[in-house]
Amino acid sequence: MAATTETVEQVRAVTEQKYKYGFTTDIEADVAPKGLNEDIVRFISAKKEEPEWLLEWRLKAFRVWQEMEEPRHWAKLSYPPIDYQDAHYYAAPKMKDRPKSLDEVDPELLKTYEKLGIPLREQEILAGVEGSEGRSPAIAVDAVFDSVSVATTFKAKLEEMGIIFCSISEAVHKCPELVQKYLGSVVPYTDNFYATLNCAVFTDGSFVYIPKGVRCPMELSTYFRINQANTGQFERTLIIADEGSYVSYLEGCTAPKRDENQLHAAVVELVALDDAQIKYSTVQNWYPGNEEGVGGIYNFVTKRGACRGRNSKISWTQVETGSAITWKYPSCILQGDNSVGEFYSVAITNNFQQADTGTKMIHIGKNTRSTIVSKGISAGRAQQTYRGLVKILPKAEGARNHTQCDSLLIGDQCGAHTVPYIENRNRTARVEHEATTAKISEDQLFYCRQRGLSEEDAVSLIVNGFCKEVLKELPMEFAVEAQKLVGISLEGSVG
């Protein structure tokens, strides 16, 4: 969440700072020409000065992708065809185009930040980079602006502990053996239409490696921002937690208000070895489009974690309030015996937003356990679907799953749908599914208003109560801001 609430100005400060010190020269650059072909793939790879194996991998993915069909039949989403040739696949921030002052920044966006209470603390951290070390609480931030990682903070301090936290393009040069070993090992380049596209054209993202037995002492955070018009964002995140290590990672995203739809197709891969634990939290606040449903981000994301080791654990916590379309199923492959997968989700759709989101829990190892708590809130004319798969393979003796899936409707023109898939191939496994659907009642609203709360504050309070089980899973500093975001997302949904 830290990352989500950075103002445009904060990011500008960082990019300018980087420019001032002239760390890189390609930051002055460029937008690749529109369209997608092998030359563009080669262009991106060359920009990143990538090794041959990575270029080959990209090209393999691109060739597979050309043969693939966009999955338009099973998700409950409707949108016009996407012209994949009508977007730029590489854009790096240009200093000259940065807004000169806040006056040039979209006032609507600023208002949102203002309502979120622009966290000065994070501004310090981002702008102060190395200088703000020693102040608490410490959060290391990697900012990805359009296609390029612009700054990673606290690097030195983390390096002392052997932790690698940098952009993935940097990691390709710094620790190629780790990248080569794990990239595509959880989400292969043949996985699905959007993930395969990402393999071909991913531009940047974060890389994290936590060595054996190390408990990462601070939250690691990546801030994603799409700024350039007509640009797709394809970031790639890879997190590896070696034996007995622990890391908590946060991801935040924003985008400016634009009338056209922009494509975002990210891939996140997590690998947890024996006794390792990864906690991955997302606050997704991409531009959702306006009240009439014009504009907004198309968010087609593949997130998957592999609990490879015994007793390993991966938790996904997501607060999804943005995007015109969300297509996202953060999953856990529970391979190691006694491994644990968790999915905590709040998804809010208002106006014309559509979300088809959920999770997959694949139980392979013995005594693997998974918990799914999904809270969906739909308002306006929004449509929301929970889609979840719990799969117990024959060798998963004693596997357990508990799924709780609650929907809350505001108004009478929105929809909530629940589509659970359960495949159980082991007699000793136990799978539980609970689902509820409710509306905010007139009684609740009147009760709150009689006590002095405005209708909007009442809705925000009631919805936050509804989401509490999930919000409490967020790291403390971010939970408060997430609560505010919940309220803001639903403004104008009643009355």
Binding site: S441, E442, C448, Q450, R451, G452, L453, L461, I462, G465
Partner: protein, 250 residues
């Protein structure tokens, strides 16, 4: 303080209140007694501003302002409080969170500074003690899993924290055993002051043994049929509502 004149109100085209006249001055406690379906709860909802009631005639002035033109939250900020007959559950919202949000929303509307967590905690601790409520009840979600007595004590706590100028107690005695009734009544009596008025709505006289009113009104068929002192309640207890043409099986 509050002046109700010839108030008519309908629900779904059916007239429930057929011309209520009532004036309550600062410090007074009025009781409205009446049989089921006489319009008691409608009167409290209309005064608090609930949707779904159509005011067809009449006026209500509250400290000189047109009460009926105000939103429910504005009425709350102006000092009107309704203790609900059936307090509403809000899952996942801690009782303290709810109380603090409400208090600060009202303070904000009045242009007063909001209380921070410490100031609020101090205030609420003070008030809970008087109502023999535990900290545990404050942490629980609003009214979720509360017994009937706990819910009514919770309403009284809210009233004590929000310090309204005019409180409507809608069937506060319903669902209470005698011990719970005493605790709630003590809480209410502690809030009586020369500046604060109350309107106690009840079917039975029992509550009025503990919250002794200055004036008693009998509401039947959407109109106040008779007004008097506290002795009127005792008379009703003895004779029932038959005198007003109401046939209630005992």
């Amino acid at each position: 303080m509050i002046e109700i004149k010839n108030l008519h109100a309908s629900v779904d085209g059916k007239e429930i209140l057929k011309g209520i006249d009532l004036t309550i001055r600062p410090g007074e406690v009025h009781a409205i007694m009446g049989p089921n379906g006489s319009g008691k709860s409608t009167l409290s909802y209309v005064l608090a501003g609930r949707d779904g009631y159509e005011i067809t005639e009449g006026s209500v002035s509250f400290f000189g302002k047109d009460l009926l033109a105000m939103e429910p939250e504005e009425r709350a900020a102006a000092g009107l409080f309704l203790a609900f007959q059936y307090p509403v559950e809000i899952p996942g919202v801690a009782n303290t969170t709810f109380l603090k949000s409400a208090l600060n929303a009202i303070r904000k509307q009045r242009g007063e500074p909001e209380l921070d967590a410490m100031q609020f905690l101090k205030l609420v601790r003070e008030k809970t003690k008087a109502l023999s409520m535990t900290d545990e009840m404050l942490k629980r979600a609003v009214n979720v899993g509360f017994s009937g007595g706990e819910k009514k004590r919770n309403e009284t706590l809210q009233m004590a924290v929000l310090q309204p100028k005019f409180a409507i107690l809608d069937e506060t005695d319903s669902g209470l055993d005698i011990d719970a009734l005493k605790i709630v009544a003590e809480g209410v009596n502690a809030l009586r002051s020369p500046e604060r008025s109350m309107l106690v709505i009840t079917h039975y006289q029992r509550l009025l043994d503990y919250i002794v009113p200055d004036h008693v009104h009998v509401l039947a068929f959407g109109k106040i049929q008779r007004s008097g002192g506290k002795e009127l309640a005792l008379e009703l207890e003895k004779n029932g509502y038959a005198e007003f043409g109401v046939n209630e099986a005992a």
